[in-house]
Symmetry: C2
Subunit: 314 residues, 2 copies
């Protein structure tokens, strides 16, 4: 059911961990279309927001909440998102949209059945230079693409043991951000052809991945994901066109160079963009639930070669 485009949507946060505090709360406070009413978490109590021990307690205290943003770890996201949709609230799902494709697909059907908005969010698609990259690719015949996504798990995911547990996805947790950009800019289906999954002997998810993909039209796409990168962190996507043109998207989509020349360098504003999109979806009674990035990860796990990597100790 559509609403007025300038209506203020009352929203609650489910999960008050690092991503909620770093991204969701500031983005919501900066968007006049939303009123952040409350949050819930078993233990986190960030400053300046009424916090409850559970979603049920939060909704009992604030029945006026119309939308919920789910920022919990993926392993519990499905049950919570299903409960949230069952109460008739619009739902903003953090990425990935489920621990499995099956979970994600059920949420999409359930939102449609309930007539509410589901946003399966991919924050990297809202990086500043993604639109220009999509336009550059659409105007050319692609020759190849290369993703290099290397970060230090100890720096970016301190204490997040779930990331190497079954369903935590390991280095695909950041890598899926690159895949969300890839699938948004390439304008064609992406198929995994080969994946080497380096899994620490004491973990259930990979710490490094080399992957060979192809578009349905046959353009090769290589990806190198590494979770043990020290010093300089790299979140880059390179594209080469048949006409010799070269594009380089850096810093997760904030920096763009074309044929060696800087074209864009902007501050990251992904979550403000995401929440603007969520508001538009609610206003127009629509949903946005594209699972292509998660499908690529599932395919990589199914097809991949498992290679034992040294023990990982945080």
């Amino acid at each position: 059911m559509a609403i007025s485009a300038n209506k203020v949507v009352k929203i609650g946060l489910v999960g008050l961990g690092k991503i909620a505090v770093d991204q969701h709360i500031p983005a919501l406070r900066g968007n006049p279309g939303f009123e952040l009413v409350a949050g819930c978490s078993p233990n986190a109590r960030p400053d300046g927001i009424p916090a409850y021990p559970s979603m049920e307690a939060m909704l009992a205290a604030h029945p006026e909440i119309e939308a919920l943003a789910i920022c919990t770890p993926p392993q519990v996201r499905h049950r919570i998102a299903k409960d949230a949709l069952a109460t008739g609230r619009h739902v903003f799902l953090e990425k990935p949209p489920g621990a499995t494709l099956g979970e994600a697909e059920v949420l999409r059907s359930f939102a449609a059945e309930k007539g509410v908005t589901l946003l399966a969010s991919w924050h990297s698609r809202f990086a500043p230079a993604v639109s220009l990259t999509r336009a550059w690719i659409a105007q050319r015949k692609l020759k190849s693409m290369h993703i290099v996504w290397k970060e230090n798990v100890r720096q970016w995911h301190p204490g997040q043991a779930w990331i190497f547990a079954p369903g935590g996805m390991g280095v695909f947790d950041p890598g899926i951000n690159a895949l969300s950009i890839l699938t948004a800019v390439v304008g064609d289906a992406v198929i995994v052809k080969k994946a080497d999954l380096h899994i620490p002997v004491n973990c259930d998810a990979p710490i490094a991945v080399e992957m060979e993909m192809t578009t349905a039209q046959g353009v090769p796409v290589r990806a190198d994901f590494d979770f043990l990168q020290e010093n300089l962190q790299t979140w880059s996507i390179f594209a080469e066109a048949e006409d010799g043109g070269k594009l380089s998207l850096g810093m997760g989509g904030a920096i763009l160079e074309i044929d060696g020349q800087p074209v864009m360098k902007e501050a990251e504003r992904e979550y403000p963009g995401l929440y603007a999109h969520f508001h538009e979806l609610i206003a127009s009674g629509a949903s946005d639930a594209d699972f292509a990035p998660l499908r690529i990860v599932a395919d990589a796990f199914m097809l991949g070669k498992r290679i034992a990597a040294p023990e990982y100790i945080e």
Copy 2:
């Protein structure tokens, strides 16, 4: 483009291994709607069928071929199926419909674009008692289901080293047959909640799997897959209803018992049923490409816990 329902469709086989000889050739010879024109394989030369070293050579010698059945191992199936669709032929794909979901989805789009029939076949769905099982479940509120699928890989897959290579799926190769029945009878989406994948230290795919699933409505479904079963082989699915009713589907769908009483015991005629279905699809200009069983396997690989199993030597 639809054809007359009693037209004879000229068909060629791509891949002439065990499944072609045991199932496809007899089923085609028993169906007056098809004329088996030729086959191709790098080395296999079964009796009584003109054989060529490649699909290209076969189609050059027999341009009258209108449909192709792809019975190669999954690792090469995608390229061959895409080439087959590109020549404008209808395609019967052996299960699974690709080494990845991405491959399978591209084939579905490609067939639609070309206006030809794609049958992503699941032979177990054509087992004699599957329809009755679906009807029994539709009339009841389910309490739980349990799949027990245990066979001896040495007996059923001799010399098929691809089955434990990346993309070969291991025990999911037979297990996906059970999942194809499950997804056909349960009338609801199936979600993987937990999977223990026992992978031999010298292999890339599991030799045994215990999996906990649930339907979207919350009915628990357990699966036990084992590839080292000696003596009695088991391909059974058990269902229990809230009203106390019990159903037992045995021998891969050939035997049905309800509340302890035998209801059906029929000879297996899956491939004749599949080819009748393929002919109907061609005649009506339709496709049948449901990837739910493959999606469950991909989810199990993504979510699953990997457990080292003893080395496997054929």
